[in-house]
Subunit: 445 residues, 2 copies
C-alpha cells in the first residue's frame, strides 16, 4: 500500500448506497476528464501528464537544478498561487524540518508570494552574503506580486554579479511562446521552462513549475513522477466502487449535500502544513464558485487540538474532517523511563513518540465522530517523493471529479480577477481610469 | 490612533439599529466581566490584569530573560495551545521575518506543541552545537505533548551540562503551588513563574506564560503591558455605541445570526500568521460549544487571494472577513523605473511596495463586498510591542463579550478532554482499562 482511502468513519452520517446513486454521474465525470469533452476541457492536460510529460525538458530541469546546487547557497523561487504552493508543499514535506538552517545543500526561499516590503527587505538582508539563483514562475510575467519581486531581485542580481553572470543565474518558467516573461527570457537568454497551456496553476506542480525548485532542493523528482505515473494507472478506473480516488470525491459531495459546509484537512506532522495549503487552493479554487462549494480549511494536530479542538468537538455542526495520515515517521524517538516519574509519563516508557501520535489520532477520530463530525481517512505508508507524486495525482483527480459532481467547472477561476481589476484601477494603471474614479468614490463613503 | 474598528463595509448586510438592539445585552455582558458574576467568572482574572499584574514577578521575568540572552544561543519554549500561541504570535509579529537566522541575539524555538518525533529529532539536531535554555510552560505539568518534550529535552540538557548547570537553564511557568511541574521545580530549584488560577490558557499571553519567551526574544515587554493597560481604560466603557471593542463583538454576532458561519481573519503581512493562529484559538475555543459558534479561519493576503480568493469571491455565501490591517510597514521598498518595461510595471515606478499592498487591500474589500462578503476592519498604525499589547486586550475583551452574547460560557473548554481520554485509554494509561477495551472494539469495526 502506498495510499489508501477509507470512509468507514463517515458511515454514521451517510449510507453506502448513496455512493451507488452517484455511480453513473462519476462515470460521466471520468469520461469528461479522459475524453476531454467536459466543462473546462482545455485545461485537463494534467490528466495524462504523468505518462506524456516532455522527457527532454524533464532532463533539462535536472541539469539546471544541478547547476543551481553547484553554484548557489540559495535559490529564490518567485511565484504565487499555483506557481508557488506545490513546490513549497513538496520541499517542506520532504526535507528537514529546518531545511534552510541545516542539512540542505541549497537553501530555498520564496518571494513574490505577497506584497510585503518588510518580508522582501528582510529576505534581501538574509541573502546578502549568499550566492543565489532565481527561478521566476509566471505564465504571463505580469502578475503583480511576482513581477514586483522579480524586478527588484533581478536588479539585485545584476548589481551583484553583473548582467552577464546574472543571466546564468536566472531561470524562467513561463509560457512556451508568448507573454512578457518569455519575451524577456528570449532577449536576455535566460534558460526557460514551460508552463503548458492546458494545465492550470493549481494542477501544475508536476510540471517544471514545481519540479525545478523541488529538484534544486535536492529531492528526487524521478520518484515523484514515478509515483504520479503509478497513480495515473491506479486511479484510471471509472468505477467508484473500486476507485479510492473517486470514492473520496463522492463522499465529500454526499456530506456537502447534507449541509456540511467546511472540510478540514487534518495532519499530524507539522511538515505537511504547505501540503494542506496546496490542497486548500486545489479544492477551494476548483469548487468555490456559483455560490457553492465546501470551504477548505486545515488543522495541524495535535497542536490545534489545543486551539481548534473545542470547536471541532462541540461547536457548530457543519464540519467534515479528512485526515491525511502518514503511517511511519522519518525518525523515531523513544520515551524513556524516569525513576521519579513526577510527570506521570512512565506508562509511556519504552513506547515511541510516534506510537503516542498514532493513539492521539485514533482517539481523536473516535471523539470527533462521537461529537458529530464525519471522518475520512487518506493514508500514506510514509512521506517520500514517490508518495508525494501519487498523493498529488490522487487529490487532483478527486478534485476534478468532485467539482464535476458538484456541477461546476473545475478548471476556471472567474472570481480571482475582481480584486486585481480594483487594485489596478486604484493604482492608476493605464486603461482603468473610469473605474478609478468610481472606486475612489466608494472608498470615501 | 493605535487601534480602531470600522464596520462600514458590513452595512450592506445589517443595519446600525441592530447594534442598538444589543445595547442592554452588552451592558449586561460587560457587567459580568467586570463584576465577575457571569458564567465562568472564576476565569476573568485577565480583565484587570493589565493594571493588577504582579510587578515583582514581572521584574523577575526581565531578569531571567536577560540571563537567557547572556548565556544561550537559543531558548526552547515547551508548551501547547494557550501556553504556546501567544508567545509565538508576539515573536513572529514583532521580530525579523527570519529571526532565527539573522538579527536576533537569542533564537527561539518551540517544542511540545506536537507529538512529531521527526520534528523533535530535527530540532535536537539543530540545537546540537548551541548553548540553550528551556522554558517549559504547563499548568499541570502532565499535559502529554509538553510533558514528553520536556522529559526528552531535560534529559538532553542534563547530559550536555550536568545536573547542576542544567538547573540554571531550566525555567518553569506553572501553577503557583500545585501540580507535577511545580513539584519538580521545587525539588530541583528551577526558577518558577506563575500561571494565575483565574486566567485560562488562551487569555494568558500577558502573564509570564507569554512574557518570558517574548522578553528572551529581545522584545520590550514594558511596552506590551503599557499597551494593554491603555487598552484596559480605552475599552472599559459599557456603551456599545462608543466602545470599538464591543462593536466588534456585536457585529460578528449579528452577522452570525443571519447565517454567516465562517469568520476569516485577513492579514496582509506574513509575519502576522501566528497572531491569526492565536486569534483562532481565542475565538474558536471560547465560542465553539453547545453546537454553535462562528468557525474561525485565517487567510494571508495577497498570497491567498491566489488560492482561497476564488472561493471568497464566489463560493458558498457563508463568510465574513475581519481584516487586521497594519498601516505602516516596518521597512519600505520603492519600485524603480525600468526603461524597457517588458513587465508593464512602470505605472508603479516611484511607488512603494506598501502603497501597492494597500491598494490591493482596498480593491479586495470592494470586490469581496460586491461578492457578498461583509467586511470588518481592525486597523493598527503599526505593528510594535505597544500595539500588540492593546490588540491582545482588544480581542480578549471582544471575545468575552461576544461569547456572552452568543449565550455560551466564554471561559470553559469542556470538549478538549474527549480526545485525551480516548488517547490515554488507547495508550494503556492506568485507570482507563475499561475504556481501552471498548475503544479497541470500535477501532476494529
Amino acid at each position: 500500500m502506498s495510499i489508501s482511502f477509507d470512509y468507514t468513519n463517515a458511515l454514521g452520517f451517510m449510507k453506502d448506497s448513496e455512493i451507488s446513486h452517484l455511480k453513473n454521474f462519476i462515470y460521466q465525470a471520468h469520461s469528461w476528464l479522459h475524453e476531454k469533452n467536459g466543462a473546462g476541457s482545455d485545461f485537463v492536460g494534467w490528466v495524462d501528464w504523468p505518462i506524456l510529460y516532455d522527457k527532454d525538458e524533464f532532463a533539462r530541469v535536472k541539469k539546471a537544478a544541478a547547476r543551481i546546487q553547484n553554484n548557489s547557497d540559495a535559490l529564490v523561487v518567485i511565484g504565487i498561487g499555483g506557481s508557488y504552493l506545490g513546490a513549497r508543499a513538496a520541499i517542506e514535506s520532504l526535507s528537514h524540518s529546518f531545511h534552510n538552517q541545516i542539512g540542505q545543500k541549497t537553501q530555498v526561499y520564496f518571494a513574490g508570494q505577497n506584497i510585503s516590503s518588510t518580508y522582501l527587505a528582510h529576505l534581501l538582508e538574509l541573502l546578502k552574503d549568499k550566492d543565489i539563483s532565481i527561478n521566476v514562475i509566471s505564465k504571463s510575467g505580469t502578475t503583480t506580486e511576482p513581477a514586483i519581486a522579480f524586478r527588484i531581485l533581478r536588479n539585485y542580481l545584476e548589481n551583484k554579479y553583473g548582467k552577464q553572470e546574472a543571466r546564468q543565474r536566472i531561470f524562467v518558467t513561463t509560457d512556451e511562446s508568448k507573454g512578457a516573461l518569455k519575451k524577456l527570457a528570449d532577449k536576455e537568454g535566460y534558460e526557460a521552462f514551460v508552463i503548458p497551456d492546458n494545465i492550470g496553476g493549481r494542477y501544475s506542480v508536476l510540471t517544471s513549475v514545481g519540479l525545478l525548485p523541488i529538484a534544486a532542493a535536492g529531492l528526487d523528482i524521478d520518484q515523484i513522477m514515478l509515483g504520479a505515473k503509478d497513480a495515473y494507472y491506479k486511479y484510471n478506473n471509472p468505477d467508484v466502487q473500486t476507485n479510492d480516488c473517486y470514492q473520496y470525491a463522492a463522499v465529500r459531495n454526499i456530506l456537502y449535500s447534507k449541509g456540511i459546509s467546511n472540510e478540514l484537512l487534518v495532519t499530524y506532522e507539522p511538515s505537511l502544513r504547505y501540503l494542506s495549503e496546496w490542497w486548500k487552493q486545489l479544492f477551494g479554487e476548483s469548487e468555490g464558485k456559483d455560490q457553492k462549494g465546501l470551504f477548505p480549511a486545515s488543522v495541524e494536530f495535535t497542536t490545534d487540538l489545543h486551539s481548534m479542538g473545542q470547536f471541532i468537538q462541540e461547536g457548530k455542526r457543519n464540519l467534515l474532517e479528512t485526515v491525511l495520515q502518514v503511517n511511519s515517521p522519518k525518525i523515531e524517538l523513544t520515551i524513556e523511563e524516569d525513576p521519579e516519574n513526577i510527570d506521570g509519563l512512565n506508562f509511556l516508557a519504552g513506547k515511541t513518540m510516534d506510537e503516542v501520535n498514532k493513539k492521539a489520532f485514533e482517539g481523536t477520530v473516535l471523539a470527533h465522530i462521537d461529537g458529530g463530525v464525519p471522518n475520512l481517512l487518506v493514508e500514506l505508508d510514509q512521506i517520500n517523493e514517490y508518495n508525494f507524486g501519487e498523493l498529488v495525482y490522487f487529490f487532483q483527480k478527486a478534485c476534478g471529479i468532485s467539482a464535476y459532481i458538484l456541477g461546476v467547472n473545475p478548471f476556471d477561476q472567474p472570481g480571482v480577477e475582481a480584486y486585481k481589476r480594483n487594485m489596478f484601477a486604484l493604482l492608476g494603471k493605464p486603461g482603468f481610469e473610469s473605474e478609478k474614479l468610481e472606486l475612489e468614490k466608494l472608498l470615501q463613503k
